[in-house]
């Protein structure tokens, strides 16, 4: 398509306009990160990096960073992998898959606000769904506090996001698996390859783009996770389930410390760059065709 470069540029114009506006707003945010803005009225007074150093001194900031990393690992890998395996199972089921993908995708139709409430009810240690069922089959639940237990609360929260997003990765992989030429799998079967081998040696490498997009999307979700934390625990007990976006919101709108809130958002941007740069570099090698 290199003969039609003008088309290519024309196609880029709308997104560049949009991103331009976005960056214009971000500059405002960046500027605020270096000012002493506290309270509700902007004070554009330059204070250098003091917002950052105040932020790094906060113990809860590091708890937040740790929680964000936990989210990245314990949310993305199980959700992507679970969706992939499930998609493979489903693709073998024929017509029944039509019912099942809808069931698994349904949680995506609910907002985080509703999911948060529902899972608070699931985890409720005294009368919640999980402990009631566990109690019903004779397990002693008196010590299972779930989100009331600061040690495991963050994992419980990740599990509820897993519940909501599994359907998304399932649908993504289902589409990708069905897109594979069926001869490929048939040939492997004839060769006598085991199912496990087919799944991970043949199917998985051939739908790498789906994995890529799935993990990236899930990464975006984890870095933005806000409503769920807000609804389920308000970051508690203590600050044990707080994540950076929630810290940013609280610093900005609850503590009314705009400078520090904006500094937090820059930290988040650095986090994102750490994910996007390898992604883009990988594109460089593989993507741009002459």
């Amino acid at each position: 398509m290199k003969y039609y470069k003008s088309y290519g540029i024309a196609f880029l114009v709308p997104i560049l306009l949009i991103v331009g506006i976005f960056y214009g707003m971000l500059i405002w945010d960046f500027a605020a990160a270096f000012t002493s803005w506290q309270g509700l009225q902007p004070t554009w007074e330059f204070v250098g990096f003091s917002n950052f150093s105040r932020l790094f001194e906060l113990e809860r900031f590091w708890i937040n960073v740790r929680n964000n990393l936990l989210w990245l690992v314990f949310f993305i890998v199980p959700t992507a992998l679970g969706g992939f395996v499930l998609a493979y199972f489903l693709s073998n089921l024929g017509r029944a898959e039509n019912v099942f993908w809808k069931i698994f995708l349904f949680p995506m139709a609910l907002s985080f606000v509703v999911t948060g409430t529902l899972w608070a009810w699931m985890y409720d240690p005294s009368s919640g769904v999980i402990n009631t069922i566990l109690g019903g089959i004779g397990i002693n639940t008196s010590r299972l506090g779930w989100i009331a237990d600061p040690k495991i609360a963050v994992y419980c929260m990740i599990l509820s996001a897993f519940w909501q997003y599994l359907g998304f990765s399932l649908v993504l992989y289902l589409g990708a698996i069905k897109g594979l030429p069926s001869e490929m799998i048939e040939a492997a079967k004839v060769d006598g390859a085991s199912r496990f081998k087919i799944l991970f040696r043949i199917i998985f490498p051939n739908i790498a783009h789906a994995t890529l997009i799935c993990t990236t999307m899930l990464a975006i979700t984890t870095l933005k996770v806000f409503d769920l934390v807000w609804i389920m625990t308000r970051g508690g007990p203590g600050v044990s389930t707080e994540v950076l976006p929630y810290l940013m919101y609280r610093l900005t709108f609850e503590s009314r410390d705009f400078g520090m809130g904006a500094a937090t958002s820059i930290v988040m941007l650095i986090f994102s760059a750490a994910i996007v740069i390898p992604y883009s570099l990988w594109m460089l090698g593989k993507w741009v065709r002459a």
Binding site: G8, I18, F100
Partner: protein
Amino acid sequence: MKDKHFVIASGIIISILAVVWMLPVYALITTSLKTQQEVAMQDYLRLPQEPRLSNFVEAFDALKVGLRNSVIISLSATFLCVLIGSLAGYSLTGFGFRFATPLFFFIVVVTFLPYHVILIPITQFLNTLNLINTYSGLILIYVILNAPMATLITGTFFMKMPPELEEAALLDGCKPLTFYRKILIPVSLPGLISATILVFVQIYNEFLLGIVLTRGPDVKPVMPFLAELKGTQIAQWHIQMAGALITSAIPVIVFIFLGRYFISGLMAGYGKG
């Protein structure tokens, strides 16, 4: 025979998992049919003594304006996002631009930020354009916030497209727009659909901007209305959960509509290639 066992086994596993998956939804449905008194007992698994459909009537009454607004706003914003995003994705992958990689990085990196960081400039921006409390204003903001994500997804899927397709098309004298419409879109349909699902869900379930950028109920999306149903110093979970089921209908319709394309339309696209 071995195949059959495997199918049965996976069928059973998936069925069990599906039941587990539906547990929270079960709690959602039973709560939506209870009275406030029953909800207060916090017996989430128990069925309501007498299903109260009036909860749904009450919730729907409060939500209907919002539903109309949300359908208008989220469908058009999603469409614009996917259109703009896919054109950009095509441009970055298909034309061999030297600056494609850094450009891609700059477009995509902002999708990772929660929009709360720029809540104030967004409001100022829309006010300058005199678009507060209009459909166009909300759509514009949602497009700005979500089009980069659409670029990311569609771009990655276009990358997967076999280069021979493009060469063949070129030989046929096919221009970029025709190629985009007739070949790229059908072949990358699963990518477009996952982009659509994700962007739509993001926009539809967004809650804060819908309040900040509107005045009164005329253009306010449905999520703020849903949040209002519970009340602040009273607690009407039963009405809110009925409302949650009602609002989930729109995404479900969208999923089912899109699902038809990705399940059946896909193979045809490849076959033609």
